[in-house]
């Protein structure tokens, strides 16, 4: 099923034509109006270039970034194609209240990147320390992912066309038990619960033999609903070039994904397939209006259309809910199947065929314009510039869903009866009842999401070299406002920053930023904050005593204070005493009614509010000890303080209302990053290897934690997303074992239930025995990647691996690891590994329960797994058609590349039966792509 390849001829695919990502000459854009090289910067910046970008056939740049960079933790999420997007953290978790998301910007503006295609991206910078994030006001504290799109080139012309086709595959297709095994399992669970069996022996026989498939069915819902592969096509046209006073870059891109629905074409006139398509166009222009005046215009627009089966039903959720024996796909009378326990609206085949479809149309427009005027006529080195940006996003839904009719069946098969008797449900008058309605398709359509964004900024720059001293300084003012749908989320921010970069003799470097920032989110009189940052650099290899001019060594250090305007729960009125006007009534009246509602005290006002502050420290070494090898090491430390936290743990109930937020939270984090990049060329053979390793660790220093009754419950001192749970010490063997063990208070226990350790020694097991178990399930502490690339006479291979460590999974997926309870499905894996007499030794999971079992389904070590993994993110085999041959034969063609890619094809994992990153109900894909690209 692997297919084709491409020819491309762009310069961008060559592994050694751009400076290595760690090369001192690599650009390091921290957001100023001048971009210095890595050699010149004193900040911690990781650069991702086209050498590793666009090699995953990703739908957008964020999916493309998965695994890449140094100090960036990108975590893949599952789900249907249209909504899959990763989660990012920079240098791990650094604060409380879930405000750990880094800032993502595109060409200097905060922008949603879900529709930015990888093709149009030139570089991505991960901005990590104080110097690198100093120009982003209140928004940079969690680090910045800065995306820079491609620009034109003077006096050139280049057109490239590429086409990819890929085949997706559900990476872990869940395996649920067949109908007969379900019958055994539910009977076993009910027996454990002291309930009568659901199926009598002769009914189990019917399930096994499938003698009454309409009454005792066996449906493999996964296979009946989903096919094995999805398809993906992408075509891209890029135009890049310019004349003497003008340069341009333009891209037109179209992609189309056709999902996994097995029977999408059962209806006249429409498909019910999961589909996603997008067209996007970008035009980046640089126009020299006069010899001293530059205008830059960037315009990006995209339209997406995503379609899902009716009501956007979560079909995968149904897989984990509806067992094989629940009901047939269709009842004997031809209506869709359903039952009293599992309603026909849970019939995934019916939902994927009979419920019509639902569409979302999203449109994005990103526009910005910059005018830069050289003011050398006033004084040499002086310039000024103004930028304006206007972005817009809207989603319009179109709900064409319909409902369908389905038919539950009543079955009686008492002992001694030869065959089952069955009937359709009847109403009080004895008439047969059909459930559901065969409705017409809906026609609802409206805008349900929109986001407007406005930016304006201006700056005065001074850039001049005096003998050995290079001086660059800029004074900049920014204003931005965002206005999404809903209330209490319009934000206005301003930022005034003065950044200076000094370079003495290319040996001594200084970055100094003084910034003052304001945010409408913060309380009156606390809206403005000051942020100083300083960075120092020493390029030792430029010293006179340095013997080898080809070897490079630089030390750098930075420190600074970055502010944040994060608010807990997005509660904007924390600074006033709040009241609540909702609640029931008190029946004062003589007829037990009232003309009054409730007025009660809400949250207490925060006295003397301030805002969250990050003190960031970083030291780094960049070196090139041997030819072709670049190395970079960073060590960082950060203290986040003044974090808004609830003071409920501090004040007694005597305050009589919800405790105020106070700026009392403190989190320390620290870590290191090591990056290596080695590439050489020997004649026709070239290779490049590289990798990044990052480690982060955080600790809550203060969270105004309530005084805990037992030390094991204390969270302060642990990391931000530490998991707490019980320590499982096996399963109860028998009643005697239960009698001899401390009482477990969650629910009545029986043999085969999980036995916990009495952590606090109070002779009973309850939530006071919770203790820190495992690590974080939110963000790994160790994140690493490495890549290998080699090319010989145009034939090349590129492989990219990524892994994590110190990362924990909690197996709580219903149906898969937590079977049967709440009327859910049971996986083959759970069935085989449950405790039962005869399987005491090998059991991984407790005895089956059909009813909610509070004892077993606590968070405990039994459900934790080490989530460390190593994934082969992508591997590419390609052939670049020799230029000489192209030039001599196809004169117009400058380059051609054919390639085959495997994406997310292999992973090591301790998470059974599932992907280590996405082990919930939402599947992830692996895919095989064939592509070609041609450059003219």
């Amino acid at each position: 099923m692997i297919a084709l390849a491409a020819f491309s001829m762009t310069a961008m695919a060559q592994i050694d034509t751009v400076p290595g990502v760690l090369s001192p000459k690599q650009k390091a854009n921290i957001g100023g109006n001048k971009v210095f090289d890595l050699e010149q910067t004193t900040g911690a910046v990781s650069v991702i270039t086209t050498s590793t970008l666009d090699r995953r056939n990703a739908k957008n740049i964020s999916m493309d970034l998965i695994g890449q960079g140094s100090g960036l933790e990108s975590l893949q999420n599952g789900g249907i194609y249209a909504v899959q997007n990763p989660t990012f953290y920079v240098r791990g978790l650094q604060t409380l209240n879930g405000n750990n998301t880094p800032l993502i910007i595109v060409d200097g503006i905060e922008r949603e990147v879900r529709d930015i295609s990888p093709e149009e991206v030139e570089r991505v910078y991960i901005l990590k320390d104080a110097v690198a994030t100093s120009l982003y006001g209140y928004k940079g504290a969690n680090g910045v992912i800065s995306i820079e799109t491609k620009r034109g080139k003077y006096n050139s012309r280049e057109i490239s066309v590429s086409y990819d086709h890929s085949f997706g595959n559900i990476a872990h297709r869940p395996k649920f038990v067949d109908g007969y095994t379900y019958g055994l399992a539910i009977n076993e669970g009910r027996a454990n619960d002291g309930l009568s069996p659901m199926y009598q022996p002769w009914e189990l026989e019917a399930l096994k033999e499938q003698s009454y498939p309409y009454l005792y069915p066996n449906v493999n819902w996964v296979d009946e609903t989903f096919r094995n592969t999805s398809n993906f096509d992408k075509v891209s046209f890029q135009f890049r070039g310019g004349s003497e006073k003008f340069k341009y870059y333009a891209v037109a891109n179209f992609l189309y994904n056709n999902g996994y629905i097995k029977h999408p074409n059962e209806n006249q006139g429409y498909s019910t397939q999961d589909k996603f398509s997008r067209g996007n166009i970008r035009m980046n222009l640089d126009i020299d209006l006069t010899p001293t005046t530059l205008v830059k215009v960037n315009v990006f627009g995209s339209l997406t259309e995503s379609q899902r089966p009716g009501d956007q039903a979560n079909l995968w959720d149904m897989m984990y809910t509806v067992p094989s024996a629940a009901f047939p796909i269709k009842a004997e009378n031809g209506l869709w199947g359903g039952s009293a326990t599992w309603d026909g609206t849970l019939n995934p085949v019916a939902q994927s065929i009979g419920a019509a479809y639902y569409k979302n149309h999203a449109r994005t427009l990103f526009t910005d314009l910059t005018i830069r005027q050289d003011l050398g006529m006033v004084t040499p080195g002086l310039s000024a510039q103004v930028s304006v940006a206007y972005d817009n996003y809207a989603n319009i839904y179109e709900n064409h869903s319909k409902t369908y009719r389905y038919q539950p069946v009543n079955i009686q098969w008492p002992a001694g009866q030869e065959v089952p008797t069955w009937s359709y449900p009847t109403d009080a008058d004895g008439a047969e009842v059909i459930y559901g309605v065969d409705s017409a398709m809906g026609t609802g359509a409206n805008t349900n999401e929109y986001d407007r964004y406005f930016y304006v900024g201006g700056s005065v720059n001074y850039d001049r070299t005096f003998d050995k001293l290079g001086l660059y300084t800029q004074l900049k003012w920014d204003y931005e406002s965002t206005d999404p749908e809903g209330i209490n989320n319009t934000v206005h921010r301003q930022n005034i920053s003065w950044w200076s970069h000094l370079n003495y003799d290319n040996r001594y470097l200084l970055d100094l930023t003084l910034a003052e920032m304001g945010s409408s989110r913060l309380a009156p009189k606390t809206k403005w904050a000051f942020s100083p940052t300083i960075g120092l650099g020493w390029v030792i290899s430029n010293e006179a005593f340095w013997s080898n001019p080809n070897r490079y060594l630089k030390l750098r250090a930075s420190a600074g204070k970055i502010n944040a305007d994060f608010l807990p729960d997005d509660n904007w009125t924390y600074y006033v005493q709040q009241y609540t006007l909702t609640g029931g009534l008190y029946p004062f009246n003589s007829a037990f009614g009232s003309s009054f509602g409730t007025t009660s005290l809400g949250q207490m006002a925060t006295l003397n509010p301030s805002h969250e502050q990050a003190y960031k420290y970083n030291i780094g070494i960049d070196a090139s000890p041997i030819e072709g090898l670049n190395l970079s090491v960073d060590l960082f430390k950060e203290r986040r303080n003044h974090i808004f936290v609830s003071s409920a743990g501090k004040y007694t109930a005597l305050i009589g209302m919800t405790a105020p937020y106070e700026n009392a939270g403190v989190v320390d984090s620290k870590g290191l990053e090591v990056s290596l990049d080695y590439g050489r060329t020997f004649g026709d053979f070239s290779f490049n290897i590289g990798g990044n390793f990052s480690y982060n660790k955080n600790k809550i220093v203060d969270m105004l934690e309530e005084p805990r009754l037992y030390p094991n419950l204390v969270q302060t001192g642990h990391s931000v997303s530490q998991i707490y749970g019980l320590e499982a010490i096996g399963f109860f063997k028998d009643e005697a074992d239960i009698a001899n063990s401390p009482q477990q208070l969650f629910s009545t226990v029986r043999p085969g239930d999980i036995k916990y350790r009495d952590i606090n020694g109070d002779k009973v097991i309850d939530s006071n025995d919770m203790v820190a178990i495992g690590r974080s399930a939110t963000c790994p502490e160790i994140y690493y990647n490495f890549r290998v690339g080699a090319e010989y006479k145009g034939i090349g291979i590129y492989a990219f691996f990524q892994g994590t460590g110190n990362y924990t999974a909690v197996l709580n997926t219903k149906g898969m690891y937590w079977p049967l309870i709440n009327n859910t499905n049971i996986s083959q894996y759970a069935y085989e590994n449950s405790w039962r007499p005869g399987n005491e030794e090998n059991a991984l999971f407790p005895a089956l329960s059909s009813q909610n079992n509070a004892n077993n389904y606590q968070t405990s070590t039994l459900w934790l797994r080490n989530r460390s993994f190593l994934k082969l993110r992508n591997v590419e085999l390609y052939y670049n058609v020799p230029k000489a041959w192209l030039n001599s034969t196809l004169k117009v063609v400058n380059g051609a590349k054919f390639y085959v890619r495997l994406v997310d094809f292999f992973a090591t994992s301790n998470v059974p039966q599932n992907d280590p990153e996405c082990y919930g109900i939402n599947p992830v894909d692996k895919s095989v792509a064939l592509g070609l690209s041609v450059t003219f």
């Binding site: 029931g584 004062f588 009246n589 509602g597 809400g602 005597l654």
Partner: protein, 577 residues
């Protein structure tokens, strides 16, 4: 000039800068702050809703279905594992402190303080032209007295539970509350009395007689003068009781007796009286019906929907009844407390009216009204008879089946049918916080303790303790004989306690009465269950089973929650915890 390209954007920039300054103060939300609340009468009046809702009541909400009664010898909760068991199984501690009263009452106090401080003297000028302005202002001016009454009630609830607690009389910053230490119980009672004394002649006397100021339906659910006097009288009785009166200062009982006389005089003035039918006290229309309402002095009205609720029925209907799951099952101790009609205890060997083989015959009529026994049709709508014998439809071993062979009728509205097809699933319920029966019994206790005699009449009063008890026993439909004048003080006290147990069962008294008398070791060390066996011929045999319960003198007061003391070390713990 090349610079012209800059002029336009620079000018635009200047304009934007100036406009952006205001943007920093921009907010699109409506801040529900003081100014917003003050806009109209109904926002401000809404405070009263919230304050009344803090008033105690117990329809099984005390502990997830269990009533406080099940922590006493009144009943046992039939569904195992309920946290109510902590009160008698050793689970109760400063780490498991049952903090609901602590939390709720201080929430109410904070709200009352805030209302009394920040929402006074409002003129609602914008509403002056409304036709009902004067009437609304009249109500608004009364709110402060209602708020002070309720705050005093919260403090009474607290002092009864914890002894002395920190007195917070005005709004206070959070860090100051964290430094407070406990006042003495006398200081708290003093504060309650001084507050109630100040407002008793200021608060509206009768909400159904507002004359010119009447507006819409009369708000009879609000606290009036009688409520103030009733609370003052009850608080005084507690203040005089052994738990809070270690030196046995009988003067306190005299004050309490005087307070009760003032209450009963006012009640008489307003037509309050002991009503005829005991079981009507918890009828759905008890708050309004002219034949019932006169006994109710101040009672919490539970509200869940415009047509009513079934909280107490859901929590107490027998298993085997649609929607029933067992619940707070009256003990044999309580059943035994009901005398026979001749006024003798069933334990009296000379009692000829009592037949152990037909134990419910000839009993105080209140037994039949309060407690469902084997063989009777209950709930009222049912025609099937209860089977509370072991193995019966409504009994053990079915989970939740009664453990004592009895089910609770009191407070329940037996016409409510919880089955899915029922047309009568809900009704109104008004709890019995203060009523005439309780007032007379309280009065009797004050008189007895003040005079040292059941028959003596205290100077300035018109009845003896025994007369006051008889007011309750002489209710039409009860008509139990008066206690003989020949009883010794001890005998009389025993019968008084018994009468109180019977008359006020499941009204939230027993738990506190036994504590304030410091008699837990007498009453709370065990309960008695009855187990009925039925043989194949349908003959019943009754067995009694004594179930021990843990009791310790420290339990007279609740522990201060350990976490509260960790936050504020100035909060001293109660003795023994």
């Amino acid at each position: 000039m090349k610079n012209k390209f800059l002029l336009i954007p620079v000018a635009a920039l200047m304009l934007t800068v100036s406009s952006c300054k205001e943007d920093m103060d921009y907010h699109e939300y409506a801040i529900v702050d003081k100014d917003f609340v003050e806009l109209n009468f109904s926002n401000v009046g809404g405070f009263m809703t919230q304050l009344y809702k803090h008033v105690e009541y117990d329809f099984g909400n005390f502990s997830n279905g269990a009533m406080q009664a099940s922590a006493t010898d009144e009943s046992e909760y039939s569904i195992g594992g309920n946290a109510i068991e902590d009160f008698y199984n050793g689970g109760w501690s400063a780490a498991n402190p049952k903090p609901a009263i602590w939390n709720n009452m201080y929430a109410g106090i904070a709200e009352a303080n805030r209302f009394l401080e920040d929402f006074q003297g409002l003129k609602f000028e914008e509403l002056e032209l409304n036709p009902d302005y004067q009437k609304q202002m009249f109500r608004y001016e009364n709110y402060k007295y209602e708020a002070r009454f309720l705050r005093a009630y919260y403090y009474f609830t607290l002092v009864r539970t914890y002894g002395g607690v920190p007195l917070i009389k005005q709004t206070m910053p959070a860090d100051e509350t964290n430094k407070l230490s406990r006042n003495t119980s006398d200081e708290v009672y003093d504060y309650i009395f001084s507050e109630l004394n100040e407002i008793k002649d200021l608060i509206i006397v009768d909400y159904s007689k507002l004359g010119d100021m009447a507006l819409g339906e009369s708000e009879t659910g609000r606290a009036g003068k009688i409520a103030v006097l009733a609370l003052r009288a009850r608080a005084a009785l507690y203040w005089a009781s052994p738990l809070f009166n270690p030196n046995n200062d009988t003067e306190r009982y005299k004050i309490a007796a005087d307070y009760h006389k003032e209450l009963l005089d006012e009640c008489k003035e307003q037509g309050k009286k002991i009503i005829n039918k005991y079981s009507d006290l918890w009828a759905a229309d008890n708050f309004s019906k002219p034949t019932i309402a006169p006994e109710l002095l101040f009672c919490y009205r539970y509200y869940s929907s415009a047509s009513g609720d079934n909280l107490v029925e859901t929590n107490n209907y027998p298993v085997g009844i649609d929607g029933g799951r067992g619940g707070n099952c009256p003990t044999q101790n309580l059943v035994d407390a009901y005398e026979t009609k001749n006024g003798l205890s069933i334990k009296d060997p000379n009692n000829s009216q009592y037949d152990p083989n037909d134990p419910y015959k000839n009993r105080d009529p209140r037994l039949g009204m309060s407690i469902a026994v084997n063989g009777e049709a209950w709930p009222t709508y049912q025609t099937n008879k209860l089977q509370t014998f072991y193995g019966g439809l409504n009994a053990q071993p079915t989970s939740g089946g009664t453990t004592t062979s009895y089910y609770l009728k009191k407070l329940c509205n037996g016409t409510i049918n919880l089955s899915a097809s029922s047309t009568k699933k809900v009704a109104f319920h008004t709890y019995l916080n203060f009523r005439m029966g309780g007032a007379y019994l309280d009065y009797a206790e004050c008189l007895f303790k003040a005079t040292g005699s059941p028959t003596a009449v205290l100077a300035g009063h018109e009845m003896s303790a025994n007369d006051a008890v008889f007011m309750v026993r002489n209710r039409n439909g009860v008509k139990m004989p008066k206690f003989p004048e020949t009883l010794s003080n001890d005998e009389w006290w025993t019968k008084y306690c018994n009468e109180r147990f019977v008359e006020l069962c499941f009204e939230g008294h027993r738990f506190w009465d036994v504590r304030r008398w410091k008699e837990g070791s007498k009453y709370f060390t065990s309960i008695t269950r009855t187990i009925i066996n039925q043989d194949s011929e349908g003959n019943l045999t009754y067995f009694q089973q004594i179930v021990p319960r843990e009791w310790d003198e420290k339990m007279n007061l609740f522990p201060i929650p350990q976490t509260e003391r960790a936050k504020n070390p100035n909060l001293e713990q109660n003795p023994g915890w």
